[in-house]
Structure formats: structure tokens, C-alpha cells
């Protein structure tokens, strides 16, 4: 399919659902939809001459970011006239970027069919790894040649200029000659007299490896076995060739390595050794070649040794770690929080491309509107006479005080917050008159910290007491629900798009923002689907079962916490040091790490509220799951302090999950004899 056909197809369908991998295959499409906002903070290091490991949960945008290091993408960008060209690329040393997807090219299969066996050498992992080493070196050589062929095209003068490559050097015959005759290849390519011929020879060699692994042949040809290369040496040759082409710039060779973490999942016996082979390349710290690896949050760091040695790759020394989580998950101080702009930009680009929206005002906020707690509150208890139902857990006298205080200005918010506050005061032993003057003197619209922390749990309780499903709408709410994960953001927008379409409503041509109930129903579907997808993911059933036990237990706590004493109990916190002690603890930690990597849980480090206690890690369900389970989206106050063994039982046990503790000591309630008459203001 041509780029034009592909563009046409994309325009006729849900603009939020294009696979990120589709965008990567199509450089022109990538250029249109790429958002520069993702290049912020640590992410800028991707374009510096360093080895970089980019980590983040599944769907956080690692691939989209790293794809920008590929020459094919940049060349296309330059050809199309540099619209939306990321400024950072003019500020960094240029780079000649090639890539390898370790599973697509079958690198992960090495070791699964024994080469040592075909040589009658019994079990010999050294032989398997040396074969894998040659394969990866040759594959990168193949990609290198393809990139050279690309920059030799007439239409590539723009990218040549950016690279600092002189046209004369690129077109020189000696470039090919020097490469082909370099001793690193063991004279294997000596006969190649054209770039196309060389490409074909390398391709044949790669297919020979594949044919052996695929049982099409029973041995490796001697001319290949006898000329195996070490990838560090091969890459150094290629890196020097790039440097030589650049007359005045220190252009480096960048290698983007994808699917590193899948090596151990798909190759139980040799996957770890294959990772060590990659680690060896990083450890080499070649001055001309830099590696860029993308990995899910906790999938990097499990195997950091290099081959044939206990030496390890060291952060800061051998590579830099860029954690997209730190950029995209909002911390309490909001410093460095760039995700909001990033999401808005991504959504806008998708719309502009598919709907041809040129009007800058017609962005997602104009279409989806804005959420506020007060707007949401109006959806519950349309009949004001029923809002009394939210005054829960207090004695009749306090109920009367609350009703009398607000009279016709009553809202379910005021009732719920004042009853919660009153309950808390009662638990502290305050008298009725103190409570009454407190309620009368309090302005719940003040949005002080006490109110701010409790608005969301209050809304959950109000919706529950109104026997209504909670309402979700507005761009700001959708950004919150996506929890710093761009894939989830697109998932939500695409469900809204589909839902609107099914109702015959155009997403982009409403007279006013899309109906809140429509948005809310679509968001519910998005939440349910995110939960369901675990069932078809690798190891997903365990995660699915666990969230189905933990989620409702958390929601139950929040709903029944009428005093709103623990608004932070939508998550739990564990002492970090306790996670390393004992088999159960390690198993539970492994499970939590897996959930974070797969965007099922979010994690954040925090200091304990207890003095002298060590650091802790807090975990919350991914916000997109909040609608399904009825949990707050915003994280405020302290989460529930759980023990690691408790968490182990939640995940691996069979009993009910009891979340949080409700055994706070209560001071006795003072008996009150005065009665307050019921008003009759109706």
C-alpha cells in the first residue's frame, strides 16, 4: 500500500486508533502525527551521543520517541520540507540512525536450535552466542547499507546536509571498497562491487542463519562459520565510516534496539545470554557508536552483566536512564509535568490530520469540554428532596443541623462534606454545639486542603448513594484518567469517537461540547476494555484476577468511609526494604513490577509518615480502571500502609481481600438532650 493509500485509509476511520507500529512503518505519517512535546526532560538525552535506555510502562510513548533516531524517518522529514521538524535536532550532534527489532528479525531464536549440535560439539552455549553475535552484526550491517543507499539518492540532499556528509564522500567508490575490504569481515564480502551486490550478499548470509534455525538446512556453511564477526568490532568499523563521511561534524552512528525485554520471555534457556550480548555492546563504550534501547519499566535491570564476565553495565557510566514515568506522571509538586501538553498535542494532531481541522480553536477541549467537581455533582440527585440520602453515618441531631444550615442552598456536596466533617469532629469528642458552629462557619466552596482532598471520594459516595453510575467527561478528566500514558489517552478518545459515531454524532462538528453522558458512557466502556485486555495478555490472567480482588476491596473502603478519614485509601504503600525479604515478598514484588510495566498499576516512591522509617513505594491502580472499580482518580493524602505479606495474600491467596483498617478508637459520643426543630422550608 502506498503512503497516499494509507493516508486515505487512516482518514476514513477512527483517528485515535492507528497503531503506533503503523506510524513507525510509514515515515511520512509519523512526521504528521509526531508530537514534539514528548521530547522534554530526560527524553532529550535520547538524541545526545550517549548510550540511553528509555524506560516506561507499556504504551507510554517509548517507541514513538526512539523512532525519531531512525535515519529513514528523518530523511522523509527533510524531504517533506521540515514542517514540524523538532528543534532539538538542530541543537544536537547529528546522527546516522539504524535500528533492529530483536524479535522481528528472529534474533531471539538463537540457542533454541543448537548449532553446537550440528558441529557435534554437544552443549556449548559459547557456540550459540557466537552465532547470535555474528547474526546481529550482519543484520546491523544490512541496515547500515540500506541507510547508505537512502542517503545516496538525489532526493536526500536535505538529510545529507543535516548529517554533515559531503556529497562527494557519499558517492565515492572508495566508501564501498573500504568497507568491503575491512578485515573485520574476514574477506567474506570481497567480491562485492556495488552497494546492491553487497546488500544481497549480506541478505544471503542472514537468510542462511534463518534457514538453519528454521530447519530448512542442517548445517551452517563453512564460509559463514569461518568468518563470524564480533559485533563490537563490526560496529566500530561502521561507526568510523560514518565519522569519515562527516567532514566537519562529529556525526555518530546510533543504533535503536527494540524488544530487548522479550528475549527472556521468548527464549527461556538462552534469552538472558542474548541480553548479555547486547549489554556487551553498551559496555564497549565505542566513541563512534551509541545504542538506544527501549524497555518496559521493570524489564530493564534484571540482567545487567556482560558476556563471559561478571562485569556489569553501569548507569551514568555506561548508559543514561531516561524514565518517561518521571516526565509523565504528575507528582505533588507538578514540576516537570509535561504530559498534559503532550496529550493535547497528540490528540490535536490526530484530528487535524484525519478531519482536516485547521482552526486552532477546534481542539479537543472545545469538543470535550471541561470537567469540574461541581459540574459532575449536578448529575446526581436531580430531585433535591432526595439529597438528604448523602447525610450518612451521623446521628439525627447532626443531620438536622446540616439541613437547617443550608436550607435552599443545599447541594449534595455540602451535605456530604459537612456530614463527613461532623463525623470526624464527633470521633474527636467534639460537642454538638461545637459541631454546629463549625458547620455554620464553614464554606465548602473555599477549596481548602481538607475539602480538596475529599472532593473526589465524596463524589464517589454521592454517586453511590444516588444509585447512579459516576460521570466522567471533559478533556482534563480524560487526561487524568490516562495517567500519563499516551496509549490510554488515545484508547479513551477512540472509544468516545466510536460511541459518538454509533449515535450518529460527529465527533468534530458538535454545536457545543459533546454530551457529557455520551462521553461518560464511552469512558466506562474504555475502562472495562482496559481491564478485559489483561485476559489476552501474556501472564495477564494473574493480573486480571488480582485487580478483580483488590479493586472492589478498595472501592468498598472508600464508599463506606463516611467520615472521609482516609481519602488516600485508593492505593497502598509498602516499606521498600520489606520487599526483599522472603520468597513471598519477592514474588509479590515481582508481580507488582509486572503490573507497573504493563500499565495496570502506577507506582511512586515516597517518604514514610512515620519518623525514622525507611522509604516506601505506593501503588495505585492505573487511573483508567477507576471508572470500572469506582475509585478516585486523583491521589491525595496517605495511602493505606500495607504489609508485603498482606499484598502477597491479595494476589496469591484465596480469601477475601480486606482493604484498610476500620478499627480506629472512637471517643464516646456525648449525650445531647436539646432538640433542634426540623425546618419546614418547602
Amino acid at each position: 500500500m502506498t503512503t497516499t493509500q494509507n493516508e486515505t485509509l487512516l482518514k476514513s476511520r477512527n483517528p485515535f486508533r492507528a497503531l503506533s507500529s503503523e506510524l513507525i512503518e510509514d515515515a511520512a505519517l509519523y512526521q504528521q502525527l509526531f508530537s514534539k512535546s514528548v521530547i522534554a526532560g530526560h527524553a532529550e538525552s535520547v538524541f545526545q551521543p550517549n548510550n540511553v535506555v528509555v524506560v516506561g510502562p507499556q504504551g507510554s510513548g517509548k517507541t514513538m520517541l526512539l523512532n525519531l533516531t531512525r535515519l529513514e524517518v528523518l530523511a522523509e522529514w527533510k524531504k517533506k520540507g521540515e514542517r514540524n521538524w523538532p528543534e532539538i535536532l538542530d541543537q544536537v550532534t547529528p546522527f546516522f540512525g539504524i535500528s533492529i527489532n530483536l524479535t522481528k528479525c528472529h534474533f531471539h531464536v538463537f540457542g533454541r536450535r543448537s548449532i553446537a549440535d550440528s558441529l557435534n560439539r554437544g552443549e556449548n552455549y559459547g557456540i550459540e552466542i557466537s552465532a547470535a553475535a555474528d547474526f546481529i552484526a550482519q543484520y546491523l550491517f544490512y541496515e547500515f547499507i540500506n541507510a547508505i543507499l537512502l542517503i545516496r539518492q538525489d532526493s536526500s540532499h536535505g538529510i545529507r546536509k543535516w548529517l554533515g556528509f559531503s556529497d562527494a564522500e557519499v558517492l565515492k567508490d572508495s566508501l564501498l571498497k573500504n568497507l568491503v575490504n575491512d578485515p573485520v569481515w574476514g574477506k567474506y564480502y570481497t567480491g562485492a562491487d556495488s552497494w546492491e551486490g553487497l546488500l544481497e550478499s549480506v541478505a544471503k548470509r542472514l537468510e542462511s542463519w534463518k534457514n538453519y534455525l528454521s530447519f530448512n538446512t542442517d548445517s551452517i556453511p563453512e564460509e559463514i562459520w569461518g568468518t563470524k564477526v564480533e559485533p563490537e568490532s563490526a560496529m566500530n568499523v561502521l561507526g568510523r565510516a560514518v565519522r569519515k563521511l562527516a567532514a566537519e561534524k562529529d556525526t555518530a552512528l546510533y543504533v535503536y534496539i527494540d524488544q530487548y525485554e522479550e528475549l527472556v520471555n521468548l527464549n527461556k534457556t538462552h534469552g538472558s545470554k542474548l541480553q548479555r550480548l547486547i549489554n556487551t555492546l553498551i559496555k564497549a563504550r565505542d566513541p563512534y557508536v551509541f545504542y538506544k534501547i527501549g524497555a518496559r519499566s521493570h524489564d530493564w535491570g534484571k540482567e545487567i552483566r556482560v558476556l563471559d564476565s561478571e562485569s556489569i553495565v553501569e548507569m551514568q557510566r555506561d548508559y543514561i536512564l531516561a524514565d518517561l514515568n518521571e516526565m509523565f506522571i504528575r507528582n505533588e509538586d507538578k514540576k516537570g509535568y509535561v504530559y498534559k501538553e503532550f496529550a493535547r498535542d497528540v490528540g490535536k494532531r490526530r484530528l487535524m490530520f484525519t478531519e482536516g481541522i485547521a482552526d486552532n480553536n477546534k481542539d479537543l477541549e472545545a469538543i470535550l469540554g471541561k470537567w469540574s467537581p461541581e459540574k459532575e455533582e449536578r448529575f446526581y440527585f436531580r430531585d433535591k428532596r432526595k439529597i438528604r440520602a448523602v447525610i450518612m453515618g451521623v446521628e439525627k441531631k447532626i443531620e438536622s443541623i446540616i439541613i437547617n444550615t443550608y436550607r435552599k442552598d443545599a447541594t449534595s456536596f455540602k451535605y456530604r462534606l459537612s456530614s463527613a466533617w461532623a463525623l470526624q469532629q464527633r470521633n474527636q469528642g467534639k460537642s454538638l454545639s461545637e459541631i454546629e458552629s463549625g458547620i455554620k462557619g464553614r464554606n465548602w466552596e473555599n477549596n481548602d486542603s481538607w475539602v480538596k482532598e475529599r472532593k473526589e471520594p465524596a463524589l464517589i459516595q454521592i454517586a453511590s448513594m444516588a444509585r447512579a453510575r459516576r460521570r466522567y467527561f471533559g478533556l482534563n478528566r480524560i487526561i487524568d484518567l490516562s495517567g500519563g500514558n499516551i496509549t490510554i489517552f488515545l484508547h479513551i478518545c477512540s472509544e468516545i469517537w466510536d460511541f459518538a459515531n454509533r449515535q450518529g454524532i460527529s465527533f468534530t462538528d458538535p454545536k457545543s461540547p459533546l454530551d457529557e453522558i455520551l462521553q461518560s458512557d464511552a469512558i466506562w466502556i474504555a475502562s472495562a476494555k482496559w481491564r478485559e485486555r489483561e485476559r489476552s495478555e501474556p501472564r495477564g490472567y494473574r493480573r486480571y484476577n488480582a485487580i478483580n480482588r483488590i479493586g472492589p476491596a478498595m472501592a468498598n473502603y472508600i464508599k463506606k468511609d463516611y467520615a472521609l478519614s482516609n481519602p488516600g485509601y485508593s492505593g497502598f504503600s509498602i516499606d521498600e526494604s520489606s520487599m526483599a525479604i522472603g520468597e513471598n515478598a519477592k514474588k509479590a514484588k515481582e508481580f507488582l513490577d509486572d503490573c507497573v510495566s504493563r500499565a495496570v498499576f502506577e507506582e511512586r516512591r515516597h517518604k514514610s509518615k512515620e519518623r525514622k522509617a525507611g522509604p516506601r513505594i505506593k501503588y495505585f491502580l492505573q487511573p483508567i480502571l477507576s471508572p470500572y472499580y469506582g475509585l478516585p482518580i486523583h491521589r491525595r493524602k496517605e495511602p493505606y500502609y500495607a504489609k508485603i505479606d498482606e499484598v502477597y495474600e491479595w494476589v496469591y491467596g484465596n480469601g477475601n481481600v480486606v482493604f484498610g483498617k476500620r478499627n480506629q478508637k472512637r471517643k464516646p459520643v456525648a449525650m445531647v438532650t436539646e432538640t433542634i426543630p426540623f425546618p419546614n422550608w418547602e
Binding site: 486508533r17 531464536v109 537468510e207
Partner: protein, 342 residues
Amino acid sequence: MRIPWGQSRSIANAFLNTSGYLVVGCLSFEERSLHIPISAKKHFNHCSVENILLRVETKEEVIPDYRQRAKEIIDENENKLKDMNVGFKPIPCELLADENYLFHLYRRIVNKYNTGTIIVDVSSMPKRYFCFILKKFMTSQDTRNIIVTYTQPELGGYADPQRGGKELSACPRRGEALPAFLSPVTKKANRVVISMGFENLNIESILRDNSSCRDIKIIVSYPPNGRYFSRQWNNLKRIVHECFGGSHNFGRDSIEVISALEVERVYSILDKWEKQSDGLVLLPYGPKPHSIAMAMFAVQNGAGVYYSQPQAYNPDYTHGVGNSWAYVVKWDGIKCYNRTNR
């Protein structure tokens, strides 16, 4: 491509006569896995028949964990065969066997048994096993004759979650090429062919890995009842929705409806689609005869065959024993795809 096929008994009568043969099957929790060994005992007592039955189980701890129940049913089935005096050699095998393991199993069979004529019963055999075994025997000079058998469950015999049953399988691994069916490294195919099944099993991971294949072709099987048809179409709708943004360029010529029992027709369609493209990537999620066709095609043409292997199989996957079919994929050393006359 010509492939004689029909009811197992008829094919056996026509081809096996007095010669001895080896049956390689799978002893599973499905009742239909016993059909061929029992039939061979009943109807071909005059031949020298040896039965190798792979007992494929998983050691991996997965949820849902059907291992105990599956083991109990397999043990019962094993005892049934013994009670009927059906001689067989059970070989315990690991579900997630890698290429070394599969090759070792193949060599063990070849070294110990006469593999001149073999019957491969794929009824209950996982794809990573039967595709590998078929490829090795098809390309072996020593194996002159291969008949593949497939026994259906009884009518309506598949578990149906929509009707109170559990799903057929769960806990799929990330999709990857089946052992011995890697796609070319440098020549990129541009067309994916999906044989539709009832469940989608992480098929998105394969479509993501093959996103250079913009053209998708679908084979939907024509099944014995409408309920199976609707399950396939619902599955297709789910895939289109999740993977292709709700729509894709599925013209009339992108979907073929083929009998669930057909091998030859599927092979022909693949051949036609291959000639119109830069290469195919095959996804055998549908009925086993379609998977046999895909495996044959891949052996002949070097296409990649991708699958996301489930790690948990519902012990109630099927019930009962239906019709049994046999396909002569190689005879007198001539492979079916090299045969132009019946």
C-alpha cells in the same frame, strides 16, 4: 496441489491395506484424541500398527490452572486405551517445547521406529508440535507416505462462553513464529492471512510485529452450524475494531469462506494471494485442516507462520467424537503440493 482426502476409514482402506504404519498422535483430555488409535486397532488389526501418543502438558503455573483436572482426564483416557488393549507408547512432552526439544523428539521417533508410512493425528495436537512434525516428515527422504488425520468433536461440541461454558483456552503468550516456520529476515512480506477462529488470543501482538503487512486477507470457515459462524464473525469484528480502528480495506476479495474441512482449497487460495503480493505471513487461528494447509504452504514457499500459544487449555474444550477425516499429504515420496493429478 492435489490432496486425496475423505473419511478416515475410507482413506485407510484405500491406502493402507496390509502395510504397517506408525501413528503419531496426542493423548489429551479430549475424547476425540483416542479415535484414531482405537480405530486402527479395530479395523486394521491385520496391519502392523505402532502408536506414539504425545502427552503434552505444561509445568508453567498459569491462571486459570486446569493442570490437575487435565491430568486426571488424560490418565482416564490412557486407562481407556489400555483396557481396550490398544498398544501405544506415551511420550510426556512440555507444551512450550522449543526447537531443540522438538527436534530431539523427532529424532527419537525416527531412530526408534519405522517411519516409512506415518499417520499424524492432529485432532488434539498443539500447532507447535504438529506443524513441526509435518515439516520434518514432509522433507524427509525416508518417509515416503504421510496421512494426516483430523477427528471432529461431536456436533456443537466446542465450549462456548456465550452459552455458559468457559473459553476454549487462555493465557496466550506473545505471538511469534511457530518453531521451524520463521519468515524471511530481509524480504518483507506485505500480506497477512488470518484463518479465523473463535478466539483472538493476543493476535494484536502478531499484527503489531508485522505492521509492514498492510494488506490483510481473511479465511472464514464454513462450519456445520450457524453458531460457529457467528463466533468467527464476532471475533473478526473484534480484531478489526481493536487493531484497525474500526475499519479496514476489507473488500469482497479480502474474505474467503471455505469449508472447515478443506485443505486443498485453502492452499490454492494462499497460492493465488501469494502471487499477487510480496509474500505472505500466515496466522492459523482457525480449524485444523486450514492450519494443515498453511503449514504445507509454508513448507513449500518459506512463508512465516505465526501464532500466540495459549498456556491453559479448557479441559472441556470439546466433547464427544464426530466424523474423522484423513488427508494424504505425501504418497510414494510425492508431496501433495507437487502433485498435479489425483
